[in-house]
Point group: C2
Chain length 203, copies 2
DNA sequence: AGGTTTCTTGAACCGCCGTTCAGGTTTGGC
DNA sequence: GCCAAACCTGAACGGCGGTTCAAGAAACCT
């Protein structure tokens, strides 16, 4: 009279992770259910047992991967005492093509243009991203590390700049290297927030 | 003994324009040959008469649209005397979602990740974009409009920033409006180049 | 008019997946 | 051991859409 226990909580995340891998590797438009199944060591019908359609699967894979990223970021940031360190950490993340999944963002953007649901999650994630930056700025101002500046304005600026630069890095632009980006962003933050970052970071 | 004259020079551009429209409207992954044919008022086989495959057609549509944009930009910029006006024009372009085809860029980026040919054109176009900015900066410095600054560094910074912001604008982010972006970028340029732009522009 | 080349297109072809189905296997409880 | 529910999967289905074909129409020349 008692059923077999559900496996959702194990299988779904595993399949989502596999899907994210496939998207990174082959791109969203070339991602096939068969690829995801193979990487998750199962069969296509099994994948569809947990996700009602390919579209749903890929959408959720995209958004959940991004969400995980922010959760990790928020945790790690909270562990750093100094606001300067936090800001440096944010910048370092974006410069590291692997950590900051620019590839996934690049797939998400054009779809968000047409899928209202994706558009909403995108907006939400971006707000989280900017809020994280703005919070660091305010935190630094409270601690006297940063001078006066509009935290929200700075957040929009830095978030967009990091996005743009991360794209170039992901595309392996010869003129936009991670090191150069790092230095550029740190310098910009110094000027805007009136603090010392290049020294603190390691130079 | 004499053949019918070729129509390539007329049909190809027309089809490419139709393809760019379809991409903007439906996205690259949903663009069908039938859509392009319809918009170009012809038939699918006819499209394939001028382009050897769908992949080739879409690739060329993407890159040629971007290229046209830069040609127009360079012409228009050259017509402006003042370096400040030129810089303002560049920023205004990026804020205008229609002129600066962020939608096409967003489609181009993830593909450039996997298609070496697209990657090359992308790199070339971005170089052109940055060079245009750097040239304006140097021009302004010669004319005494701008203070000392590393023109190439500034170009990388502004180009990436405008890319990132243009994405947000294209996605109709409620916090990143064209007006706000315009002001933010002008202010940044003022600080970095030591000049007055907000006054000159219209405020 | 006739000949040559270019262009056009309706119809058919074909491969590739997403999806469904039908039957099986596992798991846990009585 | 038997039942019920959850899971799995090989095989088949079906549609969409890129591509090809073959036959014709249009343009230009002599």
């Amino acid at each position: 009279m008692s059923p077999r226990p559900r496996l959702d909580h194990v299988r779904r995340p595993a399949i989502l992770a596999a899907a994210a891998d496939v998207i990174r590797e082959r791109g969203l438009e070339n991602a096939r259910i068969a690829d995801v199944a193979e990487r998750a060591r199962t069969s296509p019908p099994s994948v569809l047992y947990y996700f009602s359609s390919k579209a749903e699967l890929l959408k959720e894979a995209l958004t959940s991967a991004e969400e995980q990223f922010y959760v990790e970021m928020e945790v790690e940031l909270a562990e750093l005492e100094s606001a300067c360190d936090r800001l440096i950490r944010i910048i370092d993340w974006s410069c590291n093509a692997e950590d900051y999944d620019a590839a996934l963002w690049m797939e998400l953007w054009p779809r968000a243009l047409r899928d209202p649901e994706l558009a909403d999650t995108r907006a939400e994630l971006d707000t989280r991203w900017r809020t994280a930056i703005a919070d660091v700025v305010r935190y630094g101002q409270e601690r006297g590390e940063f001078g006066a500046a509009d935290a929200d304005e700075f957040a929009v600026l830095l978030a967009a700049l990091l996005d743009g630069l991360a794209v170039q890095i992901a595309l392996r632009d010869t003129e936009v290297t991670p090191e150069r980006v790092r230095e550029m962003c740190l310098r910009l933050a110094e000027r805007e927030l009136g603090c010392e970052l290049l020294v603190a970071s390691h130079g």
